[in-house]
Symmetry: C2
């Protein structure tokens, strides 16, 4: 299988190395990276036999069988991928921004051109399940998605739960190669919102957009939140949820409260997981490493092998049907924390929550704050309560409570 | 897509019902069950339009596109499936006994005949990952498999952990439809051994057999075991493990000790899960419902849709390479319980363990028993210690401790 690479950064180089190592094993599908599109021919890279070029046309015309996109971002990847599909070349991409913004259109184009377009590495790179969702109408007939889909924010939140400050946790993550120096897309939620959007496209919402997702940053978390969650027998994790609420926004990314014993609560570090809820209360979980050059490269290589050894004969009509199910978010319970500066008494808080129509189920407090677990309530009521408290100078933060 | 059924029991009837309901939705692949092979034409069944026959040849000649096997057991399923593949018909089966005993040979036959042979419903029916393992050489390049793959024994052990006797837990499981009256294959481990063997075939051990698996029954568990596991900060689950030990047996099915916080410990009831360990300490988890007629029927239908809409172009050479990896089981730590009848003191026990070359790491006791967590030790040493204690009339039971 002759592969043309778009991009030759960390993942591209890991791919070349892994393919070379695998080709040495008899009986494995031989994958050869013949050329790679790069921006700068003279940038320092590891030793590689791959021919580098700055011309996308030269890659597509190099007699290749499969195009692998590891450029990131939308352009020029979108233009080149479109040209490749038009030319009858199967495309494998790890580009979550590209797939989140233009996945349904590119899939439709691939179907018209009779070639495969696969992106298993775009969401929870180490666990193969995206391909199954595209091929299997019952498996993708879900009425709820939740998960931890950003490894960097998970690492940072796990470190914060163990007592580190956000800044120190982030420095540590950068040092281990888990985060870029500019981690805003990870901590602020945009990366997770893109992955959630890709999953929504596969699970009955082909018209979902990244802008539908309400994002809250894990930077809003305070040390007190972890202590309070512990007092209420739970933990805090950065999650993605859809459908989120019956209100205007239907998807959410941000910190959430997980009751102890929740499957997602047993994960830590940079682990990722996606849970799909189906008909009769069934939950399916896919968990494993979410990123890293080697893991991503192995998944891309598997996509290349699949593209080379199987052929799609027909279309997947169920993927293009908006509203195959129309999910309505259900009301969630909420974890609300209020820092004790200026001093807030539990009594005052309870009164406020009562006035604001958000009844609490459990209330605990320690030296740093007051922590409430509410009964089920719509997001707009919680949001109103939260901003009303903030208007009074109270440091309040609300997080959804994930059902098991 | 015209389907010929082999068997029309609970799963077959659920399949017919589900396909009928799905066909009413525009845009879905239309699946029609045209005829079904049955043993007895006159047995009472639910309302169905499916033509019943006692002739396998009549099913294969009915102008069908896909054969679905829901007969169970080995014969006559094996003979008919072989004939179907020979006739160029793709086959979907839920028959774990058939696939565990003859899967590699049937896969090879299917490849020679250029058709698909799929069995996603045979292991953890509700979670699609078996197909991905067959198609993806890197995903299936694992060096360890562990999991909870039998729902009945998981339900029984979960109920026992909550205080029920084995007998009462089993009666409850039968009442809920989770178990047959004769649950020996579930509780004794044969069902799990078959599923583990199917996974080993996909993960580099095409020559693995069901007889390689050392099976221990969950019937050996006593109420004291759950109390002891709790004292040592863990819980007990019925698991399947491969590779198990560097000794003669390389796979194990039976009760094991899980440290608290283990992903598998967060599951309960009839949940199933499979964990695959890869290269650099990465673990991938697939969890969800393991059985039930509706879940199994939906997974079979997805296999039918896949068989009808995609075509395998080439073979999967990596699946037939024995020893692609040669897994050596590592030594495990052990949880050992000794019932206090006849009275055993912690001191006596520690002495025995010391004499028997199994050093303990933690030792606790309560009124019912003494519980030990050993350091890493090979199975033959533990087995020797266990039978030596039994020879002295001590009710000892050893279980492996699962690593996270």
């Amino acid at each position: 299988v002759r592969v043309g690479l778009l991009g030759c950064g960390r993942v591209g180089q890991a791919l070349v190395t892994l393919a070379g190592r695998r080709n040495a094993i008899a009986g494995w599908v031989h994958v050869e990276c013949v050329c790679a599109l790069v921006r700068d021919l003279h940038r320092r890279r590891g030793e590689t036999d791959v021919r580098l070029t700055t011309s996308a046309a030269a890659v597509l015309d190099a007699g290749i069988d499969v195009v692998v996109d590891v450029m990131g971002g939308v352009e020029p990847a979108r233009t080149i991928v479109t040209a490749a599909l038009d030319a009858g070349l199967p495309v494998v991409t790890a580009g979550k921004t590209l797939v989140a913004r233009h996945g349904p259109a590119l899939r439709a184009l691939a179907r018209r051109c009779g070639v495969t377009f696969s992106y298993e590495a775009a969401v929870v790179a180490g666990v193969p399940f995206v391909g199954a969702l595209t091929r299997r109408p019952h498996a993708s007939d879900v009425n709820g998605i939740s998960g931890i889909v950003n490894g960097t924010s998970h690492f940072v939140v796990t470190a914060m739960a163990a007592g580190a400050t956000t800044a120190r946790a982030l420095t540590h993550a950068v040092g281990l190669g888990y985060a870029e120096t500019d981690a805003e897309a990870d901590l602020g939620g945009r990366d997770a919102a893109e992955k959630l959007t890709i999953l929504r496209h596969l699970c009955g919402e082909p018209l979902a957009t990244v802008d539908d997702v309400l994002c809250r940053s894990v930077r809003d978390l305070e040390p007190a939140d972890f202590a309070g969650a512990h007092l209420l027998s739970g933990s805090i994790k950065p999650v993605a949820i859809a459908p989120f609420d019956a209100g205007s926004r239907t998807a959410w990314v941000g910190p959430a409260f997980l009751p102890s014993g929740h499957v997602l609560a047993s994960l830590s570090g940079v682990d990722n997981a996606v849970q799909l809820r189906r008909g009769a209360g069934e939950t399916v979980t896919f968990a494993g490493p979410g990123a890293g050059p080697e893991v991503t490269a192995a998944t891309i290589l598997d996509d290349v092998v699949e593209a080379a050894t199987s052929r799609r004969a027909e279309s997947e009509p169920w993927l293009t049907q908006q509203g195959r199910r129309v999910p309505r978010g259900t009301e969630s319970a909420w974890f609300v924390r209020i820092l004790k500066e200026p001093a807030v008494t539990a009594c005052e808080l309870a009164t406020w929550l009562g006035e604001l129509d958000v009844p609490y189920e459990r209330l605990v407090s320690d030296r740093a704050g007051v922590y409430v677990r509410t009964t089920a309530a719509p997001w707009h009521a919680i949001e109103r309560a939260e901003s009303a408290m903030r208007d009074r100078g109270v440091a309040a933060l609300a997080m959804p409570v994930l059902a098991r």
